[in-house]
Amino acid sequence: MDFKQFVQDNRLKIMEVLDSERIDIVNSIPIKTLISKYLQPFWRDRPNKQAFYMIKIHEEHALKVSYAGVEDELPTAIKEVLKTHNCLTVNAEFQIVDAESVKITEELLINESKKDLVVFFFGDKGTELVVRGKQIEKVHTFYTEEDKAKYLEKYHISAIEDCLVDFENSYLKRAGVNPLFFATRATVNRIEANCTKKNILRNKPESVFRDSLEHYLNDKTQHTFTKENELDSQRELDLYTEADGKNYLIEVKWLGQAVKTDESEFTSPMTGYHAKHGVLQTVQYVQELIVRMNFNLHCGFLCVFDARENKSPINYDNHNLIYRDNQELIPFFEHHFKKLKEIKVDNITLR
């Protein structure tokens, strides 16, 4: 977002939020905290969005509201009383001092707000604020509650496997994306005349796979993924993120054949053997991060891109590389590692 352009394009809406008569209320930290952290999630959790209600609080009380009080009262007394009433007045501790059943109209909201009351109205679209005789439809300057709702609809790390199903089935097959992974037919034929293999990958496919995965996850999940190599040049294939205060790592591996750097020949085929060893390498890195680097890693994922011509099932040999040959890794394998389902990649555009 170009904020200079944004400010120019949204002058009127911004001025509404920053209106000098109301800025001390509308843009105050307690009001923003109340809405963002408590009232909007409370509204979101109530199933019937047609059951409109309002909560009034004196301006002075709103500016010194007790968050502990809000946390106590919202899920208990307020939730309960809203079953039978739709207009509550609360104090600075967010305790109900009055409860009524009224016909909520725009006029009522505005009139109430003229009595030094901050009025929160909960309609079908979310929480609205009415302050000093004015309905503030846009409480936030740079985003809307719809932006927030859309964000929450994005995948959480706990659903990363579902996210990767979409990645495999739609994103990787897009006409503008799929060719990025594969060498051109001209290159392939130059190396091997009349080559019948269709899935020859470009040089250094690991970077292309990693970057496409990073791009997709950053777009479709709630989290920010970054390349590990920004922090450690030795681990250039990994992605890293933090979600809900917990750290996650994704190690990327690929199977199949690629063009070598000088484009003189193909690489040796990367087979199921490499996927099996990918498990070992990832778990070893998980151990290193947790034990040696004292890094609070919640889970290390292994993500294998399978671009083999023949995608026969990969034999992980019951993970004997861990259970038989590296038993010291068993706790890390069982508690902090997850092998994601292999992502099948095929060249859909023979050029």
Binding site: M15, K37, T224, L231
Partner: protein, 192 residues
């Protein structure tokens, strides 16, 4: 200690070790925007970058000291190091009303709008942190008045003053709140 006290007022029962570094980094790197002609008292911190974001060894040592003398309590929560206020009373110098105190309070209050778990996302989009991550080694962060975050905030302020009548009457706090809101919009829209 101020950080913990203000966090407690905001109903945070405890703060993760990584959040301490991150909150103090934000306090340090943004200070010179609000107090242009004052030496930055947070300039004593020399932040580097590790996997968790900003790291400062003296702050790490201070946490250990505060635990040893019961100013803070330490526990492991879900694998994270977390600290909460301990049994030792908060020392008097920590309750003095100073710029530093007010500043940390403001930063904590703003972060509380979005929640502790979002601090990482704010750090990730902080202009000075972006510069530090993308620079060649050594990956260090600067909190001097010319740092990237302060430069960005000044441009931000200028954009408002040029486009919105009356904007030159807003104080630095308003711009700071708007700045965090701007970064939050980037978080929601998955922009860096």
């Amino acid at each position: 200690m101020t950080l913990y006290r203000e966090a407690k007022k905001n109903s945070w029962a405890s703060i993760k070790r990584s959040s301490v570094f991150r909150s103090l980094y934000l306090s340090s790197v943004l200070y010179s925007f609000a107090f242009e002609d004052v030496d930055n008292p947070f300039a004593i911190y020399k932040f580097s970058i590790d996997r968790n974001g900003p790291y400062e060894k003296d702050v790490s040592d201070a946490l250990e000291f505060l635990v040893k003398d019961d100013y803070l309590e330490f526990e492991q929560d879900g694998g994270s190091d977390v600290f909460r206020l301990g049994s030792h009373p908060i020392p008097e110098f920590e309750t003095a009303e100073t710029n530093e105190y007010d500043w940390i309070k403001l930063i904590v209050d703003i972060l509380n709008i979005y929640g502790e778990d979002k601090i990482y996302e704010f750090i990730f989009r902080d202009p000075e942190y972006r510069r530090g991550v993308q620079s060649d080694t050594p990956k260090t962060l600067t909190v001097n008045p010319q740092n990237e975050s302060v430069r960005f905030l000044k441009q931000f302020e200028q954009a408002f003053e040029e486009s919105i009548s009356g904007a030159n009457y807003y104080d630095k706090q308003e711009y700071l709140k708007l700045y965090f809101e701007f970064l939050f919009s980037k978080i929601l829209n998955k922009e860096i």
